[in-house]
Symmetry: C2
Subunit: 537 residues, 2 copies
């Protein structure tokens, strides 16, 4: 067989040649703009030639700080297809972390949305080595104290619309990179190779997974700075899929209207987005009959929400699981043919799990005593291996914690049922190890949050002399219920649902649970608070 | 990204782990047999261990001479997943070519269906180096003068059902090989690597191509000795697809009943098969409502047949194009989203073309003056490049004719329309070069065969002093029309349909057109006959 490399260049060339009429719909600060793949391809080549003129060469890192729009999609191909590395930066991180990331990656050029420019202005003294700042805007470049600032559209107007992309790169050459938050310390970088991105895009196109195809219209709500918007932009360009990019500061109403107007068939995002959308379509009427799949990842979607989309609105909902280190698609809640006969309730149970392994990857689940049984009960840490799984963190000593013996240890504790469907039950660091057994903090939290008086709840481990660790529940009551519910009420509520040794030793009432910038529980902080409270008692 | 190799081993392991209950339905000489993937996996491992005991090692060639059945499917994985090379042999070739192939490949072991054993018996003195003959049968091994003959089922009964497959092979290592007939001389061998087969199977799973998936039931009519049954067995195992293998000596009635009884969703074969099936379902009633796709390749399907399947029977029909050298899937007649609005007739025109390039490959079409225009008119030779395209013929000097500058020159002359859809118009060697212009023999033949008095017709080039070459039509009249139709009648029939210089210089009436063993016109022989006839005149 020929030794032709798997490169991103073939994706854009296919879109240009076979799908020049297909559309990219981009929502920017000034409204909806439309580009054909032909126009977009020319703009992308202009960008590549402009970057080349600015001195960007093979292996150089080019950072982006941008929302989901056509210019960001141009950067997605212009940078890697000319041999450089597309470094998408999470604009929601703290300024300190953003400057760490820019310096650690060694970004040579930054592409910045105009509304994000002030953030970079503020940290300019802490970042080194950036030779050019290119502002992506429909209008003028805002006032800035930065030097070497360029207007994206001006650069494009001077660019070459038939600039040649690289077809001679090694398929293992870096094409992209993305940093992921760490529990402690600075974010950790993951490098994506051309080979990894191409194979991952093929996996997204499989009829057995998300089946992204030319007949789709894809709307990635998941940010393009978050694991390449789950790879959707790459698959969509390759397959000639119409794309709808929702831009900055969208609301559930804006999303619903875009989906209706553009006849979106597939969309992807985190549960929070879908809760917002569900609320929106419950309040206002939209025709979302074109939607064939809502892809949901990032964290587990509540069963009730899945049920509402599927049964009330007839919109198929699909759980997926992955992380920055896995490109991200690793597990998907696709049903098997013989599941078609299951009662609705069991189908929903299946959909509430993360799903089965995607073709092309390998998996093992390591429990207390080696690989766990496929019984839906025994808990173990999920480890993954495959051609779109990272092998290390970029120049980071913390690699050795997660990457061992050729496997990525995900830090996620899961069970796996008889059919091979995985359910996430906890993070390894949040798991409570009591008397040699494992207790899932997530299972307890889900049970607590189903209590009618509870607004939110988290369960953490506290050290225990005899049992090593014991669970303690931290509960925020709904305002109307405060002072009316006791610790005993809550424990009595849990007792019928769990084994005796799972029941928390204590219930602490709090006014709020500390959270990360993306709304996840900050369990490390919570554990410290609980320790302090318990000491005070 | 991790450097995990793309190997066939991951396919069978996925089927065993995730789809142990799914079925393989196998029609053999003694009737229908059923195996779950779990049972089939154990049998496959038993076979691998048996081959190991017989001395088969990494890189060794193991030949198969067999129909489509479960044992052949076991060989499909047992051989490559233990590092050896699955060499499928076309049992329809001449005995001389079969012994050439066995010797040229250097097969160490042969797996032979019992009804094919007599053929090998006859050529045993001309084959060297085969150390063991394994007979695949439900019953006893037939009487044979061969030595070192083993009974497949006896070997399996002593085999190890948990034999370990190789996960440490180089992804570029050979996994399979297949010989293709040459115009002159011996067949030419193509080697398939693990990487090539895995990527090709992914391509088959794309929603944009054939979309083979777990929910399918696949029936490959195309023989497993013919380009790996177009890769369907590999994709089906990987995705956990139920397989129906039709075995030896099937009739259209047997196929139709299998499709009905097993609720087949996707099937694949050459036009001759589908003409037979169409005839069968026109005569007798079957419920084929489960069929979502008939894949058709090998040669062009008549438009009328496509129309009959689609419009009369509601069965979607899909053209595909490929060859032994291309694994084979290279081009597929998938429509684009905006084709949905075309009138039925234009949709049919589209379906009658071979289609557009499959994601993952590159293509160019070289005409008289370089790359051809995308106008559906200019003719050129199709050249292909990509990770599942062969790079050479196995130890064969003829490689340099077809493989040049990193491209495979297919020998097929095509046009390509504005949308990138390819239509095969001729073989390069059959194209008529008249006065510096190209004339498609196939176009003329199709026109002639639409004449109500003509049974079959072929058009060949004869040398011409002024024009280099000129077309001559060879026509076989229907019995009832013989003596009633003149040369002028036929030329008058053609004239309104073609440019003046396309009209054949002569029409020769013949009693039959010489054909190959698979029913294709033997144009080389025909050209010689025509030369002789013209000389005689």
């Amino acid at each position: 067989m020929m030794q032709t490399p798997l490169l991103l260049t073939q994706m854009i060339e296919r879109a240009e040649k076979y799908f020049p009429k297909k559309e990219i719909v981009s929502r920017t600060e000034s409204g909806i703009q439309r580009f054909t793949y032909k126009q977009w391809g020319e703009r992308t080549r202009r960008l590549a030639s402009a970057l080349h003129k600015l001195g960007v060469r093979e292996g150089d890192k080019v950072g982006t700080l941008a929302w989901n729009h056509h210019r960001h999609l141009e950067a997605y191909f212009a940078i890697p297809c000319s041999g450089a590395v597309l470094h998408t930066i999470n604009i929601r991180l703290s300024p300190q972390h953003i400057s760490y990331i820019i310096n650690h990656a060694g970004d040579k050029v930054l592409l910045i949305d105009s509304d994000i420019l002030p953030l970079i202005d503020k940290i300019k003294d802490s970042i080194q080595g950036v030779e050019a700042f290119i502002v992506m805007t429909d209008g003028e470049v805002p006032k800035t104290s930065l030097e070497n600032v360029y207007h994206y559209e001006e650069l494009l107007s001077e660019g070459d619309p038939s600039f040649s992309f690289r077809t001679d790169l090694d398929e293992n050459a870096p094409a992209g990179m993305c940093y992921t938050s760490a529990t402690t310390g600075n974010p950790k970088g993951v490098i994506y190779s051309h080979r990894g991105i191409v194979l991952h895009a093929m996996a997204l196109g499989l009829a057995d997974t998300t089946g992204v195809c030319e007949k789709d219209t894809a709307l990635p709500v998941v940010p393009m700075f978050h694991v390449n918007a789950w790879g959707l932009p790459f698959a969509s360009v390759w397959f000639g899929t119409k794309q709808v990019l929702p831009g900055p500061y969208f609301t559930p109403g804006i999303l619903a209207k875009l989906m209706q107007d553009e006849k979106v068939t597939i969309t992807a995002g985190v549960p929070t987005i879908w809760l917002g959308l569900l609320n929106e379509i419950e309040q206002n009427e939209y025709d979302l009959s074109s939607l064939r799949s809502i892809l949901c990842g990032g964290s587990a979607a509540p069963r009730g929400m899945i049920k509402a989309f599927e049964e009330r609105f007839g919109i198929p909902f699909m759980h997926a699981y992955g992380m920055t280190e896995t490109s991200p698609l690793a597990v998907i809640a696709a049903s098997k043919s013989y599941h078609a006969d299951l009662p609705a309730d069991e189908k929903l149970d299946l959909k509430a799990k993360q799903g089965i392994l995607v073709p092309g990857l390998e998996m093992k689940i390591i429990g207390k005593d080696g690989e766990v049984a496929w019984d839906g009960k025994e808990m173990g840490e999920l480890a993954l291996r495959g051609p779109w799984i990272a092998s290390e963190y970029y120049q980071d000593e913390r690699s050795q914690d997660a990457f061992r013996d050729g496997w990525l240890y995900t830090g996620d504790v899961v069970t796996i049922d008889e059919e091979g469907y995985i359910k996430i039950v906890d993070r390894t660091k949040d798991l409570i190890k009591s008397g040699g057994e494992w207790i899932s903090s997530v299972d307890l939290e889900n049970a607590l949050m189903a209590h009618e008086d509870i607004f939110e709840a988290a369960v953490v481990a506290v050290p225990h002399e005899q049992w090593q660790e014991r669970p303690v529940a931290c509960v925020v009551l709904k305002e109307s219920s405060r002072g009316k519910v006791t610790k005993e009420d809550i424990l009595d509520f849990l007792k019928p649902q769990f084994a005796k040794w799972w029941i928390p030793d204590d219930v602490l009432f709090m006014s709020e649970i500390p959270k990360t910038s993306v709304g996840k529980f900050l369990k490390r902080t919570l554990r410290d608070q609980v320790q302090d409270k318990i000491k005070q008692v």
